[in-house]
Symmetry: C2
Subunit: 332 residues, 2 copies
């Protein structure tokens, strides 16, 4: 570690060649310019010796590529998004990209601000789990830089995307839970404006119908994804029935937490209510009751996002791929 930063010019001088030659060698254009093997070796040796790292900022200024990608997510403390971010970060690092993460809190204004900040940083590509219900914004953005959506889809939006098969996964799990001898099955959920919520609800509905139950609108309770809401909805459900429901699907782990707290407080944790939830946490293996769960395959989501990203960044392929990742089901 020297005091002064070594530059391309230093390397060129010490290798006894011109800056262009060094640049070509370093960017893999040696072949194309028929640089002698000797020269290449000499340059690389000097680069090595000085532990030279080209300035990404100078490069970006000239070439308009920053080797930077944006990731906009609702919440970094949500396990699913954190996991996806982690896998992505690791893949990006290996590929020489830096991931710039920004949170939106599922607030459209904050989301726009986050996107603006990342755009100002000239990210080469933007990955977004958006709370928007209209594709216009990102379709426009996509004209300037490639956009890849994930986790949420936006109706009528033809951008590349990666999402989980929330609908069919939910249907499978709920259907299995209902089995034969259940006459009712409640649904506790969050904001229905978000596409994953709809998917989960549709899956639940399909399961209810496929099981031959006569669906009741009163089985569906929803507001947002706060644990406190889960508690309230569960309370409401029980008061409405005068007892626990026979079966219950919770649309997220946070809601389940509220449900559990209600059960603990009313001392009904040992009941034989059937339960299933979206999201999977280790602690579900540590509870006295069995709760089946649906785990998003974040590693696969990250892998798919990364692949789409690579593709968009190398060839400017016009093709729009929309990928669906299978969730992992845990029957308990």
């Amino acid at each position: 570690l020297k005091n002064k930063k070594v530059t391309l010019a230093d390397i060129a001088q010490h290798a006894g060649v011109s800056k262009a030659t060094v640049s070509f060698v370093l960017n893999g254009h040696a072949e194309k310019h028929r640089i002698t093997e000797d020269t290449v070796k000499k340059v690389l040796a000097v680069v090595e010796q000085f532990n030279y790292k080209p300035s990404l900022y100078a490069r970006a200024l000239k070439s308009n590529r920053t080797f930077t990608v944006g990731l906009v997510i609702p919440d970094l403390t949500n396990m699913g998004f954190a996991t996806t971010a982690k896998y992505l970060e690791s893949k990006c690092l290996a590929a020489g990209y830096q991931l710039l993460i920004a949170s939106s809190d599922d607030d459209i204004e904050k989301e726009k601000r986050a996107v603006a900040a990342l755009t100002e940083r000239q990210v080469d590509l933007m990955m977004v789990a958006s709370a928007m219900t209209d594709g216009e914004f990102y379709t426009a953005l996509n004209k300037k830089i490639p956009v890849v959506l994930f986790d949420r889809y936006i109706d009528d939006c033809t951008l590349p995307s990666v999402i989980t098969n929330g609908r069919s996964a939910t249907q499978t799990v709920v259907q299995k839970m209902i089995g034969q001898d259940v006459q009712e099955c409640y649904f506790l959920g969050g904001q229905m404006a978000l596409s994953p919520s709809c998917d989960r609800f549709e899956g639940y509905l399909a399961a209810v119908k496929a099981s031959g139950l006569e669906f009741q609108q009163s089985w569906v309770l929803h507001r947002d994804y706060q644990p406190e809401t889960g508690y309230q909805l569960m309370k409401q459900c029980c008061e409405q029935l005068g007892r626990l429901p026979q079966a219950l699907f919770s649309a997220s782990y946070s809601i389940l937490e509220g449900v559990l707290r209600y059960l603990v407080e009313t001392n009904q944790l040992e009941s034989n209510m059937l339960m299933a939830t979206f999201d999977n946490y280790t602690v579900l293996d540590c509870l006295p009751l069995r709760v089946s769960s649906i785990e998003q395959d974040c590693e696969a989501i990250a892998a798919n996002l990364f692949e789409l990203m690579q593709r968009k960044l190398s060839q400017d392929s016009k093709e729009v791929e929309q990928r669906v990742v299978e969730a992992k089901l845990h029957f308990r």
Copy 2:
């Protein structure tokens, strides 16, 4: 959104002034250069009209400031780090900084690679929750760019830092748990090489001694922070005793998960064993047993980190501040 990027030169031309003038106005040096109020207004109007955003890359190239800060953490999926990152990100955004997050998995080689990647990106400052036991590396790095350590401290390392009072918090909670009528108290922990582990152990030890118990080495079981390890250690503990321990402190939530699974499997969840753990999760309110917990104040940690960061970035203050953040205790 135009097709071509607008530059300083465009603004200058349209405002009928020179690039320098625009630059001065935009950087708040208008006063210093006695630019007419009229000129300032005219420039700002044009900037507004064209929605001009200066290129951070060009600026960085010239000024060697990237308005970027690095955050190296062990694991983005660890709730504490995710929470800290989230608060930091939000503060940085508001201050015009971009947070670059990198994970180390508590692997020293990966940590070095992460730091190298961020250094190459010319971050203006580096914040690190390091797994290293030697301060040399970061002391050296600090000669090039300011370093702020957090969550972990490194012996004999005089860099600015922010940590939680894990020792005293643990002592308080364990002491309260032990109360009067307990003859033993186990400690289940992870890698003792990490400073938080030591803190927690020391706090536990102090509590045991302060409670007048005769400390037994056999009460201490530790390996790493995997839930599976928690299960194994708990099993070992019970087999060793032939029964559940009277009291137990778990050094992390992940270990607690293992403990809970053991209790569920052996059908002892309803026992009256006393328990406390480091880390606080909502689900602790939803369990049939009472587990006291210690919650890191991630918001305060982030706020302190941000403050130290601001300070280092504005005046190059030589002063080294080491801050301690109080944990929040949850008695259950």
